[in-house]
């Protein structure tokens, strides 16, 4: 890609080392069918797991170092082992709930996964349910992901007919039911306790922790909640072992990871590579920045993770390395924005999202997101004052750490992190020195979030 201009972010080394493990079946013909899945090695991990006692599966996943792919990076095997000791005589069963409510802005890995390779999630769900002795598993899918719901329901039907699900799975004596459950359009339900309330047929509002779901989750029973990509990582680990898994990635963040590149990138898409791959490498694989316009800022893992700039192109994208550099790995949703994009405009649009999605349970988030939107709107439309900048950061700082769940923190993040790197842009806007930045040429030149944009019309 030597001829691809990327301006200040010139990429010249090798691209990302591509290691398709989770994505390897995605381009196969009729990849979503049981026949295709089996032909490509599917349902081989399941009999192997069923052949050992459940605790050994948990121990294996612990040894693999797999960390949750939903954003927080909590060690998966450890999460499973936090369930109280299994007691067949316990009054309530244990549950596995899969968080497939993908909605974090920038995140777009689980939906293609479920669409292209639903059996991979089903096999992972059966193995995980077995490992934690759960007789029932719910996959909570974002309601808008209709084609995923279809594919998953189809996979459950096929797996049941083949004897991988239902009573006495493959003659092991183990019974499991999986229900594919649709949400109804609420980002907050990606928060695990809000998801549980929603799955119980209530408003999706987060619960106070403790008790954690491992102790009192779905129907107040011991519950494991894992992300789609996490569960899909389980069958390959069962098949090839912990050492194989650890041969990819970094010591503290092992394994293969789906990196989702979007934005002003020549070839956006899903690139699976070992944990610790850098954006520079990924951009090189993706043909660099589009139209030769340099990278201005990016999110390492969705809009809720502090933004990075071109200075951070070489940060290894692993949980610990990104944290050490001042952000969070999140969902490795790499939204890349070029020099034409106004940072205050981008932040205002994100805040419109958080305001809309705030569940209303706690005051800092419910009221605070509304105020942040109003102030940002003033600034972006040229009516802001110098005082607004202080009010904005002060309001954001008063939401962060004071809200009931992480949504409030997430809402403050774009504001606070953009001030860290791009304060001057806010100052230019309130002092009238407005550079002609736009989201894209499509928005019309010389306007900042106005013109054909939706100032004042958005909800």
């Amino acid at each position: 890609m030597a001829d691809t201009a990327v301006g200040a972010t010139a990429v010249d080394g090798a691209g990302a080392p591509l290691t398709p493990v989770l994505t390897r079946r995605w381009a196969a013909p009729e990849s979503w069918t049981l026949a295709s899945y089996r032909e490509l090695g599917g349902y081989r991990a399941l009999p192997k797991a069923l052949g050992v006692e459940p605790a050994r599966v948990t121990e294996l996943v612990k040894a693999s170092g797999l960390r949750g792919r939903g954003g927080a990076g909590f060690p998966t095997g450890m999460k499973w082992s936090f369930l109280p000791p299994f007691d067949p005589a316990a009054p309530t069963p244990r549950y596995l709930v899969i968080n497939a409510d993908e909605g974090e802005p920038g995140t777009c890995k689980d939906i293609p996964m479920m669409m292209a390779d639903p059996h991979s999630l089903i096999e992972g769900a059966i193995i995980t349910s077995y490992a934690i002795n759960a007789p029932f598993c719910a996959i909570y899918v974002r309601g808008e992901a209709l084609h995923c719901l279809r594919r998953l329901a189809g996979a459950v039907r096929e797996a049941t007919a083949a004897g991988y699900l239902g009573r006495d799975i493959l003659g092991s004596g183990y019974d499991l039911e999986i229900v594919v459950h649709a949400g109804a359009g609420a980002y907050i339900c990606g928060e695990e306790t809000a998801l549980l309330d929603s799955l119980e047929g209530r408003r999706g509002q987060p619960r106070l922790k403790p008790p954690f779901p491992a102790v009192a989750g779905l129907y107040a029973s011991p519950t494991v909640v894992n992300n789609v990509e996490t569960i899909c990582s389980v069958p390959p680990i069962v098949l090839h072992g912990a050492d194989w898994y650890r041969s990819m990635g970094t010591e503290k963040s092992p394994g293969s990871k789906i990196y989702s590149l979007s934005g002003h990138v020549t070839r956006p898409g899903q690139y699976e590579a070992p944990m610790g791959t850098t954006l520079r490498q990924l951009l090189d694989s993706a043909g660099g920045m589009r139209d030769g316009i340099p990278l201005k800022f990016f999110t390492p893992g969705g809009s809720s993770t502090p933004i990075f700039t071109a200075e951070h192109l070489d940060v290894p994208l692993s949980f610990d390395d990104v944290a050490a550099a001042g952000s969070m790995l999140g969902t490795t949703a790499l939204m890349c924005f070029n020099e034409t994009v106004s940072v205050p405009w981008a932040v205002w649009k994100w805040l419109e999202f958080y305001k809309h999605e705030s569940c209303g349970k706690c005051t800092p988030c419910r009221e605070g997101t509304g105020w942040l939107v109003q102030i940002l709107h003033r600034i972006v439309t040229g009516d802001g004052t110098a005082e607004d900048l202080d009010t904005l950061t002060s309001a954001a700082a008063n939401i962060a750490g004071r809200s009931f769940c992480a949504l409030g923190d997430a809402a403050a993040t774009p504001v606070l992190s953009s001030f860290k790197w791009f304060r001057q842009e806010y100052e230019d806007l309130v002092t009238g020195v407005t550079p002609p930045l736009v989201g894209d040429r499509a928005l019309g030149a010389g306007t900042v979030g106005t013109g054909t944009s939706t100032v004042g019309a958005h909800r």
Binding site: T107, A182, R459
Partner: protein
């Protein structure tokens, strides 16, 4: 509907006059039977109601309450929380345009304004007379939050099927086709039907499952990484079938 007639405060638009038939009752029972605790069926049941009524109507709320032995207030509290439950009857088609930051920067805002100007409606508004809501060619427009297809931005959905990599022109063509009674093929997903049949599937009832499941899903950006790997001979470290180790001794 007689059981809501004369109720104070029930807006006329909620009185769609539809009766939930035998089939809907059977489907509701089937949905409730999937869960260890009946109330878990409330979200799917509200989708089921929308598949019949085109929105969550007052009779729909009463229907859910009856199925689950809840009060109408408990059901309303849930129905009003979620974006996908519509309080006014949806058009034949629901067009949801992502205007979150990334899509907006790549043209999502322009797509939304183009459609809004063409249809003459704003967020959560429907073309045509209210009495005709759901009639052929009617369209409800909405801003959508991130639709989790950012590598395919800018995106929109019609009846929750993906139309990826749109432009204002392609989106306008799409909407013109919908208004003319066409059934455009999504980028990912089977041929469009309408909002109500989409809601039935979201409720977990899949008529014509085999045909619908096979609708396309493969978008070029989705498989770029895996195809690049294949083309350049890259792969994950080869793995043997390694036995699961015994538990460590305590």
């Amino acid at each position: 509907m007689s059981h809501t007639e004369g109720r104070i405060g029930v807006p006329v638009f909620l009185e769609t006059g539809q009766v939930f038939d035998e089939l809907t009752h059977r489907r509701a029972e089937e949905i409730v039977g999937r869960y260890p605790v009946a109330r878990s069926a409330l979200l799917p049941l509200l989708h089921l109601v929308q598949s019949v009524e085109g929105c969550v109507s007052q009779p729909g709320i009463d229907f859910c309450a009856e199925q689950l032995d809840l009060t109408a207030a408990e059901v309303s509290a849930v129905a009003t929380f979620y974006t996908m439950y519509k309080r006014r009857p949806c058009g034949e088609h629901l067009v949801s345009v992502c205007t979150n930051t990334l899509c907006a920067a790549l043209g999502g805002d322009a797509i939304y304004s183009t459609l809004s100007a063409h249809l003459g409606v704003g967020h959560e508004e429907t073309t045509g007379e209210p009495a005709e809501a759901g009639a052929p060619g009617t369209i409800t427009l909405e801003h959508a939050e991130c639709l989790a297809a950012c590598d395919l931005a800018p995106v929109l959905q019609v009846d929750y099927e993906y139309f990826d990599e749109q432009t204002p022109d392609s989106a306008l063509d799409l909407v013109l086709a919908l208004q003319a009674g066409g059934s455009p093929t999504p980028t990912r997903g089977p041929a469009l039907r309408n909002f109500r049949t989409a809601e039935l599937e979201i409720a977990g009832i899949f008529p014509d499952a085999d045909e619908r499941v096979a609708g396309p899903s493969l978008a070029e950006p989705t498989v770029r990484g895996v195809r690049d790997a294949e083309r350049t001979g890259q792969h994950a470290p080869p793995g043997d079938d390694v036995p699961i180790p015994p538990l460590p001794e305590k």
